[in-house]
């Protein structure tokens, strides 16, 4: 048996080829002999060591190997438990679509598309062909940078004669899309990487990854161990379990769902191979030509999650067809293409796909383990993303970060708290149907909720709070007044004026004129302490601003990377000489922790603690906040006694030791109250009862958002990312070039200061936009300057003060030769701007500074800027 196994391994390349030729009715374009391993005969023995070990021989794993090789890596070993491409890759439908919700995703798909074409030349393995796709429901928001046309039903009929066009209004035509054969792409990638020295071993499974002192040191397989520096988990369906298998657990939050597609026999009049891929979002189906017949699948409303209990290697080879489950999609297909009714069935394929809690893939280095990378959870777009994602991950391993911001895909956006199997099972059942649903602004997931809550949750809920979730934490969006009933959830899903408009307006008004209380307990809170001045030294190195301030001061600062880009944007309170309180956005919990840990010397006297769960945060916003607080504490809270950006421990009501900070994250006057959670209810009750005579009311995050955007406050994760420098977003005043310590990113910023910035964060105030009737801006709308596309918005809100819409976004113009142009204040001020919302262009006024500065003094402006920002922490 043993010798048999060995000989199979020795024959692996030959077998693989045979399998490719014989796999069902799938075509094998491959002819001629290709050899993966330079040392075929000795491939039985694994090398004792390697630099990189990649687990997973699907299209993702081979893509990572290919791109690492391209970047000059050697000693790469790729391990596959079965045969190359035997998992999801083997079954997937082979559509590369470049229309993706995120621009980084579109970029990846674009790259993949080009790569697969190039591969054909490079390796001689035919991978597929151009096959433009037709979306039956043109999205309201056209994705920037993707070549697409909206066409008439008549043209649809011309492009695809089988389509029933009677109920179509139009379609989106994407000439850039293509159809490839996934196993062939997989094979081509493998061939290309093998040619550059990647050693591929099939029938080798990884048992676990050995981690010593937070670094990957070796990989244990069923055939012995391999020492290595880097490990890449591309195990697809099995990535979660592989992550859990080691002594140090890695959380890879993904879950499998069954996915079905239908293959038909050739039609009497065979479907041309170049006929477009059809995507019918209403019918939730896709369909492409397949050997003269049709390949059609879809994303149903009631997905079937699988493998919740664990992996089963045998099962994935032998998944059951479920016709009853496929019925709605079959009906949708026949509705869209009635001519297929007489077409014969070839097969119903069940191909499990893995999905993540937010529909975006998982990429990057895992928090806490250096050298452990993950690329998995492709949400059934594996083929579209594999090329681009593989490239980014290879760059990540090589340079420490990809060449573009991938925060939305970064595995560090999740933590252990998203790793519950029950959570994942429930969430993916919600996520999968969303793939073919119109992406509505401010979507809140309905599953996996109420995981983390503030102690005030019930109190707020009974007062009409409507909730959203961030990083598992429930946060109030707004409060529906008693007696007023909002429309059903479905009706609030709109691109137009939402039903909460007046409610949020009232909350904003109260913040401006009286006082509001917002529960902001979800923020990530760290405490950094040391015996000596290690804590200060570390922060001075990490932060651009100067932290050597008197005790009790609050400093807003970015934590920058070598490029000068924001890794984090936080507020740091100096609690005592050697202890600091760091407040970061909610979803920075994992990312910020690993960023600080990565740069923290291993000094037993330096201690970082995550205290997020220990504190409840209440934000009192508004001119009367100081009255409420002084009544509760018998301390004068006027600016003379309590200047802004100051922190004091005081008593509020009966509770003592409450950290009161004079900042609000909105630009309005007010205070943040950080209290141990056991005091939360008491303090809240006291604040509410005392505040009554000042007109206090609850407010939610939507009010906060409107306030911070009209004050031009950027928000990390949406406006700011690791490629945005403080100079590009007008925050130079928070960078202290002349402080003693050479902080991270200083050189890059100095260089940029000399060269000038090529992109600039601006505020655009929309004119002639009818709030009632026009589609609202949300984010991602193209910005035009003098008729030329110069940028894209990153966030927007209705300003109740200006009674206009305010969009924030970046301008990144190019010179005539296509190179990035330097942006000056003059350039910005001398342009006529338009924002394109759903195809309609609205004129806008661009501002470099908050609106208030236009009629206030310079000092006033500076104060406002100094008041905090990041609303959506």
């Amino acid at each position: 048996m043993r010798s048999g196994a060995c000989s199979i391994r020795a024959l692996a390349p030959v077998l693989l080829r045979r399998w490719l030729c014989g796999a069902g009715a799938r075509p094998a374009h491959l002819c001629g002999s290709v050899r993966f391993l330079s040392t075929d005969s000795v491939s039985a023995a694994l090398p004792a060591r390697a630099r990189v070990v990649i687990c997973g021989g699907g299209i993702v794993g081979t893509s990572v190997a290919y791109h690492l090789v391209k970047l000059g890596w050697t000693e790469i070993v790729l391990l596959e438990q079965g045969r190359l491409g035997a998992g999801t890759t083997r079954f997937c439908a082979g559509i590369v679509s470049v229309a993706k919700p995120l621009s980084v995703e579109s970029k990846m798909a674009d790259y993949s598309n080009a790569l697969y074409e190039r591969l054909e030349e490079e390796t001689g393995v035919k991978t597929g062909e151009k096959s433009p796709s037709l979306h039956s429901r043109p999205s309201l928001k056209l994705v920037l940078g993707v070549s697409c046309n909206v066409i008439k039903p008549k043209d649809v009929a011309r492009l695809h004669p089988l389509v029933n066009i009677h109920d179509l209004v139009g379609a989106l035509h994407l000439p850039g899309d293509c159809v490839v054969s996934p196993p062939d792409v997989n094979h081509a990638l493998a061939v290309a990487s093998a040619a550059h020295g990647v050693q591929i071993y099939e029938h080798t499974s990884v048992n676990h990854v050995v981690v010593k002192k937070g670094h990957v040191t070796a990989v244990e397989t069923d055939r012995g161990s391999i020492e290595c520096e880097y490990f890449v988990n591309c195990a697809g369906q099995w990535a979660y379990e592989l992550g859990q298998s080691g002594e140090v657990k890695v959380s890879v939050p993904l879950h499998g769902c069954e996915h079905f597609y239908l293959l038909t026999k050739p039609l009497s009049e065979p479907v041309q191979n170049d006929s477009p891929v059809l995507i019918d979002m209403d019918g939730r189906i896709y369909a492409r030509a397949w050997h003269g017949g049709i390949l059609s699948g879809g994303f149903e409303k009631n997905p079937k999650p699988i493998f919740t209990e664990g992996r089963n290697q045998l099962e994935i080879q032998n998944m059951q067809e479920d016709w009853d489950h496929f019925e709605p999609m079959l009906s949708a297909l026949l509705r869209r293409m009635p001519g297929l009714e007489s077409c014969e069935i070839q097969q119903l394929v069940n191909c499990p796909e893995s999905f993540t809690p937010d529909m975006r893939c998982l990429m990057g280095e895992t928090p806490g383990i250096y050298g452990y990378f993950v690329l998995a959870g492709m949400n059934s777009s594996g083929l579209s993303f594999a090329g681009g994602a593989g490239k980014y991950l290879a760059e990540w391993i090589t340079y420490g970060y990809p060449s573009t911001s991938v925060w939305h895909l970064d595995i560090k956006r999740f933590g252990n708290l998203q790793s519950s199997r029950t959570f994942l099972r429930h969430r993916v059942m919600e996520v999968m149907p969303l793939l073919y649903e119109l992406k509505v602004p401010r979507w809140d997931f309905q599953t996996g909720r109420q995981l983390r809550t503030s102690p005030l949750y019930d109190r707020l809920d009974t007062q009409g709070a409507r909730w959203m979730e961030k990083h598992g934490f429930e946060r109030a969006k707004y409060f529906v007044p008693a007696g007023k009933d909002l429309l059903a959830l479905d009706q609030s899903k709109t691109f137009y004026k939402p039903d909460w408009f007046d409610i949020v307006g009232a909350e904003v008004k109260c913040c401006k004129e009286a006082v509001c209380v917002i529960d902001m307990s979800s923020f990530t809170k760290f405490e950094l302490t040391s015996a000596g001045d290690q804590a200060l030294q570390l922060l001075q190195r990490l932060c651009a601003n100067d932290l050597d301030v008197p005790v009790g001061h609050i400093v807003h600062t970015g934590m920058l990377n070598q490029r000068g880009g924001y890794e984090n944007d936080c507020s740091v309170v100096r609690l005592s000489k050697n202890s600091f309180f760091i407040i970061s956005p909610t979803d920075q919990q994992v990312h910020c922790w690993s960023w600080i840990k990565k740069h923290m010397p291993s000094d037993p006297q330096l201690h970082l603690e995550d205290v997020s769960w220990k504190y409840t945060a209440l934000n009192l916003i508004g001119p009367r906040a100081m009255d409420v607080l002084s009544e509760l504490s018998y301390v004068s809270m006027t600016p003379e006694h309590f200047p802004s950006l100051f922190c004091k421990e005081m008593s509020v009501g009966y509770a003592n030791g409450i950290r009161v900070m004079s900042m609000t994250h909105t630009g309005e006057p007010g205070f943040m109250l950080y209290m141990p959670i056991e005091y939360a209810l008491h303090v809240y009750n006291e604040v509410m009862s005392v505040g009554q005579k000042y007109g206090i009311r609850n407010a939610g995050y939507y009010a906060l958002r409107s306030l911070r955007i009209e004050k031009f406050f950027a928000f990390w994760g949406q406006d700011l990312d690791s490629f945005t420098t403080p100079l590009e977003c007008g925050r130079e005043f928070r960078v202290k070039f002349d402080k003693d310590t050479d902080f991270l990113g200083r050189d890059a910023l100095l260089r940029q200061r000399v060269e000038g910035v090529t992109r600039r964060f601006v505020m655009l105030v929309l004119e002639d936009h009818d709030t009632e009737l026009d589609v609202w801006p949300w984010w991602g709308e193209p910005i035009y300057r003098n008729g030329e596309l110069v940028g894209v918005t990153t966030s927007s809100a209705y300003s109740y003060t200006l009674q206009r819409h305010v969009c924030l976004g970046f301008l990144s113009p190019t010179n005539t030769d296509g190179s990035p142009a330097v942006v000056t204040a003059d350039f910005i001020n001398r342009g006529d701007y338009e924002v394109d919302i759903a195809g309609q262009k609205f004129p806008a006024k661009a501002k470099l500074y908050p609106f208030s500065s236009l009629f206030a003094q310079q000092k006033r402006r500076k104060d406002n800027m100094e008041l905090s920002n990041f609303q959506s922490k």
Binding site: D322, W323, D324, L330, L333, L334, I345
Partner: protein
Amino acid sequence: MAATSHVFRVIRGRRCGRILVPPITCQNCSRPPHPCIYATRPHSFEQRWQHQVRGYRTTPAWHTYYLTPPQVNSILKANEYSFKVPEFDGKNLSSVMGFDSNQLPANAPIEDRRSAATCLQTRGMIYAVFDGHAGCACAQALTERLFYYIAVSLLPHETLIELENAVESGRPLHPILQWHKHPNDYFSKEASRLYFSSLRTYWQELLDLSVPGEQPDVAEALVSAFKRLDNDISLEAQVGDPNAFLHYLVLRVAFSGATALVAHIDGNELHIANTGDCRAVLGVQEPDGSFSALTLTNDHNAQNESEMKRVRSEHPLSEAKSVVKQDRLLGLLMPFRAFGDVKFKWSIELQHRVLESGPDQLHENEHAKFIPPNYHTPPYLTAEPEVTRHHLRPQDRFLVLGSDGLWETLHRQEVVRIVGEHLTGVHQQQPVSVGGYKVTLGQMQGLLQERKARISSTFEDQNAATHLIRHAVGSNEFGMVDHERLSKMLSLPEELARMYRDDITIIIVQFNPHVIGGQ
């Protein structure tokens, strides 16, 4: 099996009336008797049915209008009734979990009756389905009386003494039965005194016959109760009553007829007493989870050879040809055993005498005077039941009692499958697989949509009996419930409904496998 059931359906389908004897007009129900009961009419109908393979397959030629699904549901659910045996301390200690029953009229008014009750003195539960003919009077009398006869027959000597003493001294009686009745199941008040005095006479006789300390045998008790009640019905009609209304009532009861099917369950012991052609089928769950049918009764009609033999043996050879003609007793009556129907039991003289002394209404009724042809050696008909005893096993999941209206539309195996799947909530539908067959997308879509419809109709019905009726009436060629068909069948005009379907009455008793397995 399929072939025989097919034949069976052809035969049953051609039949329009259970009895070809004109009935006595039913005063209670004040409607004209159904046309097809008249001896002269059925022939034309028979011709009409002859072309049909199955009784209910005709497409109505008249103008139809469609019922909406809620309308269909309200018709189907009008008579549904469910009973769950109450739990004690979170546990149901009874071998019965509960029952579902329902009936769908085709005659106007319906001639079927149903009863369910718990015997309070013993522990048993009794269920019964009665299928009346020539009016509903006899079936109605049976629902009101038969259970008391059975309950009393089951009482031990000591309890009978208590009962008699209580009546004697005018003390209140301990109730004997706890009825489980649908609001539409009415009891008439007028005859209760008369019925009670007959019952009392019966238990007084039982008192004389029984021995202290001896438990009555259930099978014997059932037979005794059946025979006694039929005898009482006959006697009451002969004696008459000074009250003209009552006199007319007892005559109507005696001259109409009814078959009866009674199930008595006490612990693991199931007894079925059957008179006529209702049928009891046990749903047995096989180890693989599927359900199979075990029939516990024999139909007493021409299709049953031993019944044919019995009937012929009870009459002289000279009558061998005339006693069963066209599969009917004396060429008239389909069931070979029944309550009432004194036309087939009394001598000609007795019939004449009773009719002459009877109230005026009878004189006007020509049909009441009608004497069956070749009527030489009465009685031709008996109410004596055939009793089956069955010891319940853990795999016995439920019992279906149904009038012949059910069994002539659905095969028993189909009945058991539908009920079994409904009760377990598991559909034994095999997953669809294309295999090597040539299937087009269109065909597959059709098949899948039917499967979906079947599942959705399951969840529509809480009551298993309603679910069964839905299938019985609405099944199409594929065995799927077809709303269009259901709508047509249920919107038939009253006078036509009986030609397309019979009254359907169903009781489904669900057993408690925990108790049955534990004993």
